[in-house]
Amino acid sequence: MKTVLPFFAVVILVLFPLFGVTVAHQTEIFFGVIVPYAAMAIFVVGFLYRVAKWGKSPVPFCIPTTCGQQKSLPWIKQDKLENPSTTMQVVGRMLLEVLVFRSLFRNMKTEMKEGKAVYGSEKLLWLAGLAFHWSFLFIFVRHYRFFVQDLPSVIQMMEGVDSFFQIGAPLFYMTDAVILGAVTFLLIRRVYLPQIRYISLAADFFPLFLILAIAISGILMRYFFKVHIVAVKQLALGLVSLNPIIPEGIGAIFYVHLFLICVLLMYFPFSKLMHMGGVFLSPTRNMANNSRIVRYINPWNYPVHVHTYEEYENDFRDKMKKAGLPVEKE
């Protein structure tokens, strides 16, 4: 159920615009203008709202997970990136975390072999995760050629790198293959590994199928079922310059690609995909381990009922005196 249902949901999401624009041209305005604007609005507002909502809850305690030697005596070498004690060191830790998935890199696999537990290397998840996220970012940035009139040279360089091998025409992008491979791996892993299948929800399969469909539709459009690319850019520029137009003859597959992206954008703020924002707010990673150096303040700290020394002495005064302990009151 949790695998099949998301799959068919994505199939329906593909068929919807496909039939829409093939059967009735009027729907192009829906798929080409209304949905993209709605998706953009939901994405931006939803994302801001979710993060702001997290931000409304304070971090009452300084709870970094320390993964190395603390700042201690001057002759003991502190692990500044794994156990940061200053803001700059925290920035370093976060950069490692966000850019190269430092924590996931530690991953290993536990197995029972010959009657004892052994821990083997397991870097595939890290590699696939890194490959997926970085190629996604590359592809996302590459799409800027549809959104600006004069493409910055940085993005042109990225394209150059991505199509370095100059295979075929239009030039083959490496990231297209990488993202397909990585998403497929992540999907197969979820179905095939018993532990991962057991913990997976429909909400874990849906974004994978969706992203896979987006990647496939994009690849089909670029290499196989060509669309009127100049018209696509006109539509895109129309959207972002707030003068939407629907050029003639773009091709149905473009609307499929666009619609799936819109679904992803709309789904984003309501889903686990918010880990993109959440990773920056994780208190175990974004705090300095300096709570013994600087007092950390809890905004809702409140007085509590304690058992005072006076009460304690009242309970035990006789026994204390008998044992020769000093007391406050005789």
């Binding site: 801001l48 009452p60 009139q149 239009p170 060509k226 100049v230 850019k233 310059s241 707010l281």
Partner: protein, 132 residues
């Protein structure tokens, strides 16, 4: 503690990045792009036609050119038979550019618009611009 300052700064950065395409195009007109076929050679043609129909050429010209290059360079074949049955000499300079002698208003028009940099002109020399 709330770290409101850092969160708000982060959200401003997010908002900026997420809406960057809108910001970059703010107030800019959306130019209509149409490659020009207004050259003396094309105008002189009794019936205007390319080696393949216009729709095919629009989306597949890069693949056609890629094939042509392979045909000439690897197979030594200089003859292309179009889907209309006519034979054409495979040559960028002498076939394509003979008619489309206005590279700037024909090729570059869309390529620049789409920020595509075909590597044709890495080897070939662009012909002199001609216009009607």
């Amino acid at each position: 503690m709330y770290n409101s300052g850092k969160i708000i700064a982060g959200l401003v950065v997010f908002f900026f990045l997420a809406t960057l395409p809108f910001l970059l195009n703010f107030g800019k007109a959306n130019a209509k792009i149409e490659p020009s076929i207004d050259t003396p050679e094309i105008n002189a043609m009794p019936k205007k036609h390319c080696v393949e129909p216009k729709a095919f050429m629009r989306s597949e010209h890069m693949q056609l050119l890629n094939n042509w290059r392979d045909q000439v360079v690897r197979n030594g074949n200089r003859i292309y038979v179009g889907s209309d049955g006519n034979e054409y000499t495979i040559s960028l300079q002498n076939t394509c550019m003979k008619c489309h002698s206005n590279k700037k208003k024909f090729c570059d028009k869309c390529h620049n618009y789409m920020a595509v940099k075909p590597y044709c002109w890495g080897c070939h020399i662009a012909p002199k611009e001609k216009e009607a």
